[in-house]
């Protein structure tokens, strides 16, 4: 006889398994198991109850009494038991930090916000590859890899490749020497190259330096035409060096250059309190700065100490005079990305800083700023509003208008209005409309036409010229 009760309570799913053996003389309730999903509580209630004395009794009254007690207790239990209620589950404070099994099993987020929160949790803490593969033996991993290498699906990079990556990553995390030996023996350059990423992601962090040497010996596979696949190994090496300080970090930069490997930061990035100023003065790092290859450095510095970082950026810009998109604004990119939280504030802060420079420098930087922030009109306005030189303000507005025009005719017209010279303004408008036609923007709507005509009438543009500009706006092009 086998009896299975599988249940669920308050976001928690448990499997209760009661397995019985029944022969003519004996019954054994051999086990009761509560196994929540993640296996953290594999055997909460290990019972082994021997009921033989009970069933061996030949006293019918006793047996009947026990059976009645069992049934009545069951009824009592049933009446006491509660179903999970919506109120209880939604008010579950565990939403903020629940047990992993609670989150994964039987979860029904009630709102879109909860759903997203749940997905964020899945991404951050859901069962990872390691967790999914840890029960496999080395032999099973090896056999599965060999079997997978015969799968023609490898040619399409779908589930076949995903599966092999999962297995190889796990094996690498356990035994990088054996895994790399297997990997090196793969006859196909193409598949070997695709699988390289699993070596990097599985490589034990404490052996990252050794991993870097391995990557350097197999550059063609790790840095093939399909992109770099050594981010985890290099990131671990760099993170360890950054923890030690600027001197060790500079040594790693040298090592990477000599091995012809790219610089990649791990997810940890720069540690809190890192001495950026000292790193900026170090030999290898200062070369990167001079060559406008220090975006990673300034981004991190601006996050930790914006005032000093900006002052250093301006100094470097004055010395190098490169493209400000690769220096001044590059450091701000994460904060200036379209829709990024705080983009408007960041743009205003940057405008205020640039507004302290002389007029010539402001003008040099304004146009680039406008172009970079163009997809977020509020950010452009915050940036422009904080500049102090009127010419720089106009340049930033006009530079942004061309791209704003792709999606938002009304705002673009407002930005173009900053240009005081009527002929120049109409020329800029014409160029913006032509640019819009080349891009895959929204179709030019009746409302767009109304706004365009009304604004041009305000600018006192001749009717014929307005018709001509509307025709340009309606002309299809690009990917449309």
């Amino acid at each position: 006889m086998a009896m299975v009760v599988h249940g669920y309570r308050n976001w928690r799913s448990c499997t209760y398994q009661v397995t019985g053996k029944l022969d003519s003389r004996s019954f054994a309730l051999s086990g009761m198991k509560c196994s929540p999903v993640s296996g953290e509580l594999d055997l909460v209630m290990p019972w082994l109850v021997d009921l033989r004395p009970m069933l061996q009794t030949r006293n019918a009254r006793g047996a009947a009494l026990l059976a009645a007690a069992f049934v009545l207790s069951g009824l009592a239990g049933w009446s006491v038991g509660k179903k999970p209620s919506a109120t209880a589950s939604r008010a579950d404070p565990g939403l903020s930090k629940p047990d992993k099994s609670e989150r994964l099993e039987g979860r029904k987020p009630a709102t879109a916000e909860e759903f997203r929160e749940w997905v964020e949790w899945l991404v951050a803490e859901g069962p990872g590859r390691k967790e999914r593969m840890e029960s496999w033996t080395d032999q099973e991993l090896r056999s599965a890899l060999d079997e997978g290498m015969k799968d023609p699906g490898l040619a399409l990079h779908g589930p076949a490749m995903g599966t092999l990556l999962l297995i190889l990553e796990e094996w690498t995390s356990r035994d990088p020497s054996a895994a790399t030996e297997w990997w090196e023996a793969i006859s196909s350059d193409v598949t070997r190259g695709h699988l390289a990423v699993a070596l990097s992601s599985g490589w034990p962090k404490e052996r990252a330096s050794e991993g870097l040497d391995f990557v350097a010996r197999h550059r063609e596979a790790f840095l093939g035409p399909d992109g770099s696949k050594c981010g985890n190994i290099i990131g671990s090496v760099v993170a360890a060096a950054l923890e030690k300080g600027p001197e060790a970090a500079d040594e790693i930069l040298v090592r990477l250059r000599e091995a012809k490997l790219p610089l990649m930061l791990g997810p940890a990035g720069f540690p809190a309190g890192f001495d950026f100023a000292a790193f900026a003065r170090a030999a290898e790092m200062s070369t990167l700065i001079a060559e406008n290859r220090a975006r990673f450095f300034y981004q991190a510095w601006l996050r930790q100490d914006p005032e000093r970082a900006f002052a250093s950026l301006i100094d470097d810009y004055r010395n190098v005079k490169g493209d400000p998109a690769e220096s001044i604004f590059s450091g701000f990119y994460p904060g200036l990305r379209v829709g990024a939280p705080g983009m408007t504030e960041n743009a205003g802060w940057l405008g205020k800083k640039i507004g302290t420079l002389d007029a010539e420098e402001q003008q040099e930087l304004a146009r680039k700023g406008g172009e970079i922030m163009c997809r977020e009109p509020a950010a452009v306005e915050a940036f422009v509003g904080a500049l102090t030189d009127p010419v720089a303000k106009a340049q930033a507005s006009v530079a942004a208008a061309r791209d704003v025009m792709i999606e938002d005719v009304a705002t673009a017209m407002r930005l173009l209005a900053v240009e005081r010279d009527q002929d120049a303004r109409v020329d800029l408008l014409k160029a913006s409309l032509e640019y819009r036609g080349q891009m895959a923007g929204k179709p030019f709507s009746a409302e767009d036409e109304r706004v365009l005509r009304a604004t041009l009438a305000e600018w006192a543009v001749a009717h014929e010229q307005i018709d001509g500009l509307v025709d340009i706006a309606k002309k299809k092009g690009g990917n449309r």
């Binding site: 069992f70 239990g77 509660k82 599965a144």
Partner: protein, 411 residues
């Protein structure tokens, strides 16, 4: 006394077990009033995280894991949760999510998958009203998601909505929908795919992760006019069944089929190379080309290399192509810019003699108008590049003289 205690203990156990099972059967086994997920039996809802468990109990091998990975790619744990949401919750989920480039990539990917599943579920339940709701929202992403869901499930019904999407939000949105509709059809079979290709035309390169079981690759390749899909299909077939791929390439290059086989044939080399060494893959394609006339196979040779082609592939091709004319064609293609380094250098270096290198350079120079090449500036430029190339190749003096002699006298 002992017996009394024993009986008492048994009574307590019986009461306890009865109570517990009674409580459990209601609390744990019964359905939830609020619709929360309730697993009623083990097979319907096994503990989740072990991927191997999802696809085959305790069996841990490549096949079961691959099936589980496939399920993950289709939505994994999101699927069940979304299926249990009510219509209002699905709409709220679709309305609330806006993809932004600054967000975490994994979150974007997972939420992208979730919105596709939500759109599919909503369309499955509501049909046209779901499309109307999405269209009214004015949101491109939302309308696209619903039209895509419809095109995957009911492609003929969705066709008119596809046109409305394109008219409102542009052709790029339509191309994504068409690509998804084709992939859904691909998972139904070759006949469906051919039908949908005629219904939804797009030129977007699509990732093609899977085919339906029993998909008729050869039949499809003989009848499809979708260039990109055919390339991927032949790439797969060359990995799965090289003999069938060989026959198709031969037939294709001799004029059968509806696509340009010089591209599809080149993709076949990619597929074969995923399964074996570069040398073996080139030997295979070389064997196929050896049976096709030179005029038909020449365009395919040029398509076998691109900017991302490895040096190893270039070397293998030069050594493994069936004839010298093939080597000359490949080298000419790689020497277009007459660069003294890179793929041109690799190709010439892989040739087995200076005599062949001289012929390759001569063949490349034939692409110039001889009168123009005689102009001092161009002659000087080309001559300089050739000198650098010959130096890098360490060609013998005699061969270098021969190459210099190929250049016309300066005017």
């Amino acid at each position: 006394m002992k017996e009394t205690w024993s009986k008492g203990a048994l009574l307590v156990i019986a009461c306890g077990a009865g109570f517990f099972l009674g409580w459990g059967s209601k609390t744990l086994g019964a359905g939830s009033v609020s619709g929360e997920a309730v697993a009623r039996n083990v097979s319907a809802k096994a503990p989740r995280p072990q991927l191997s468990d999802e696809s085959g109990g305790e069996t841990r091998n490549y096949r079961t894991l691959r099936a589980a990975v496939g399920k993950q790619l289709e939505g994994g744990e999101l699927t069940g949760v979304i299926e249990r949401m009510n219509d209002e919750e699905l709409r709220a989920l679709l309305e609330a999510w806006e993809d932004k480039p600054f967000l975490d990539l994994k979150l974007r990917s997972k939420m992208g998958m979730a919105t596709k599943l939500a759109a599919t579920e909503l369309f499955k339940r509501q049909g046209i009203p779901a499309l109307e709701w999405a269209e009214k929202s004015g949101r491109k992403d939302l309308f696209s998601a619903l039209v895509e869901a419809a095109a995957c499930r009911e492609p003929k019904v969705a066709r008119a909505w596809f046109d409305r999407l394109v008219a409102t939000h542009g052709a790029v949105s339509g191309a994504y929908v068409a690509t998804a509709a084709k992939q859904a059809a691909r998972m139904r079979g070759s006949a469906d795919l051919l039908e949908i290709e005629a219904l939804y035309k797009s030129n977007m390169i699509a990732k093609i992760p899977e085919f339906a079981d029993g998909f008729d690759h050869a039949g499809y390749l003989r009848n499809s006019a979708d260039e990109f899909s055919c390339r991927a299909t032949l790439r797969y077939l060359a990995a799965a069944d090289p003999a069938a791929a060989e026959q198709l390439i031969r037939d294709g290059l001799s004029g059968q089929g509806k696509v340009n086989w010089s591209y599809a044939g080149a993709a076949a080399l990619e597929g074969r190379a995923a399964m074996t060494s570069e040398e073996e893959a080139v030997r295979w394609i070389g064997g196929v080309l050896g049976e096709v006339d030179q005029e038909s196979r020449t365009p395919l040779i040029a398509n076998m290399v691109g900017r991302g082609t490895s040096d190893h592939r270039v070397e293998a091709l030069i050594k493994g192509l069936p004839g010298d004319q093939d080597r000359l064609e490949l080298a000419r293609h790689l020497m277009m810019k007459l660069e003294p380094t890179g793929q041109a250098l690799t190709a010439l270096r892989a040739m087995d003699s200076d005599a062949l290198r001289v012929r390759a350079i001569e063949y490349r120079l034939q692409a110039y108008d001889s009168a123009k090449l005689a102009e001092p500036s161009l002659r000087s430029e080309v001559g300089g590049k050739l000198e650098a190339l010959m130096e890098n190749l360490q060609m013998a003096d005699g061969a270098r003289q021969q190459v210099r002699g190929l250049l016309p006298e300066a005017r």
